[in-house]
């Protein structure tokens, strides 16, 4: 059996937001912006298991998107029942101290049925996510290294 070792050219650490510690899910802070390109602080659950990233409708309005209309809603089945949503393209930013910040786009679902942003598996298009007890690591630029025998 062969294990490939991996290393990453970019490792962004974000602290897990302790004010949500009692919920047990990893929540991190990022910045998000909509059509106005005004970045706003946003806290969301990483590793949510969702296929798509979702943001609450009230956050979407804050970012400058119109209120989701009943027409054109899509529906997705979730653990707690179906979720109705519209989609929009949102820029998310991970600030880095003393280095250029990292921004990326996600086509998110906007739903009035959720209270907190949920980062979905679409985030994996850009990063590998590693969840630790105090921090969440966003890893990119994989170097495919040597091999190791177990």
């Amino acid at each position: 059996m062969e294990l490939r070792t991996r290393s990453w050219g970019l490792e962004i650490r974000r602290p897990r937001e302790q004010r949500f510690a009692d919920r047990g899910v990893p929540m991190v802070e990022m910045w998000a912006s909509g059509p106005k390109c005004l970045f706003t602080r946003l806290t969301g659950v990483v590793d949510s298991g969702s296929k798509l990233t979702f943001i609450p409708a009230r956050t979407a309005v804050l970012l400058g998107f119109p209120k989701p209309a009943a027409q054109g809603m899509q529906r997705m089945n979730a653990v707690g029942g179906p979720i109705d949503f519209t989609t929009a393209r949102v820029q998310f930013r991970l600030p880095l101290r003393d280095r250029p910040s990292v921004t990326f786009y996600l086509d998110v679902g906007i739903s009035a049925q959720i209270n907190h942003a949920l980062f979905g598996n679409d985030l994996l298009r850009y990063f590998r996510i590693l969840v630790g007890p105090d921090e969440v690591f966003f890893l990119a630029d994989e170097h495919r290294g040597g091999t190791a025998e177990p």
């Binding site: 970019l10 390109c37 005004l38 706003t40 602080r41 806290t43 009230r58 804050l62 820029q91 910040s101």
Partner: protein, 201 residues
């Protein structure tokens, strides 16, 4: 929402903190208010060099002397940025209000009422700022990428691009490589975007 309160006297800040404490209020962005208090204007100026640290700065300007002059510097340095600056002063006057607004303050509030009324004025002012902030507070680099997204995504799928001063600077396969490429370009604060990979990648 992270708020920095700057005042030589901490009393009002402590009272505001108790009124805005997490159990009592939710901010406009759906998060809880987190109020940090400092009586050191120089330290506040240092903290605000990081534009992502605070969403709102509430600053007392009627201290006189050096703190007042640093307060003016802070207001000017945040002009046009996404951080909302609110003056909270015990010596409100019309000329000072006009001067502060010209420098870039979002609002000007006198310490003339009860702490509950001041809290109400502050939260309403912050709410209004979120609704009506002018477009010139937008991130020019983000605007550039947003307007040219389709073209950039087609040219650089899965790559890193650097943008600064509202224009494209360079692109590379990795973040580190782009850092070294952009180091040759005289742009003060470049930002990096990771472009989405092609959907079949």
């Amino acid at each position: 929402m992270k708020v920095l309160y700057v005042d030589e006297v901490r009393t009002i800040g402590e009272l505001l903190k108790s009124r805005l404490s997490p159990a009592r209020r939710t901010a406009r962005d759906g998060t809880r208010y987190e109020l940090h208090i400092t009586d050191d204007y120089e330290a506040a100026r240092g903290m605000l060099l990081d534009p992502d640290l605070y969403d709102v700065v509430i600053i007392e300007t009627s201290t006189g002397g050096r703190p007042s002059s640093i307060a003016r510097d802070i207001i000017e340095s945040l002009n046009g940025k996404r951080t909302i600056t609110i003056i909270l002063t015990s010596l409100p006057s019309l000329p000072d209000c006009i001067e502060s607004m010209r420098r870039g303050a979002w609002d000007y509030i006198g310490k003339l009422h009860s702490i509950d009324q001041i809290t109400q004025q502050l939260t309403e002012s912050i709410d209004r700022a979120y609704e009506k902030r002018p477009a010139n507070c937008a991130d020019p680099d983000a605007l550039y990428v947003d307007r040219n997204f389709r073209k950039l995504a087609e040219r650089h799928p899965g790559r890193w691009i650097a943008v600064g001063d509202g224009r494209f600077l360079d692109a590379a396969e990795t973040y580190e490589k782009l850092v070294s490429q952009v180091a040759q370009i005289p742009v003060p604060q470049p930002k990096f975007w990771r472009m989405p990979p092609r959907s079949d990648d």
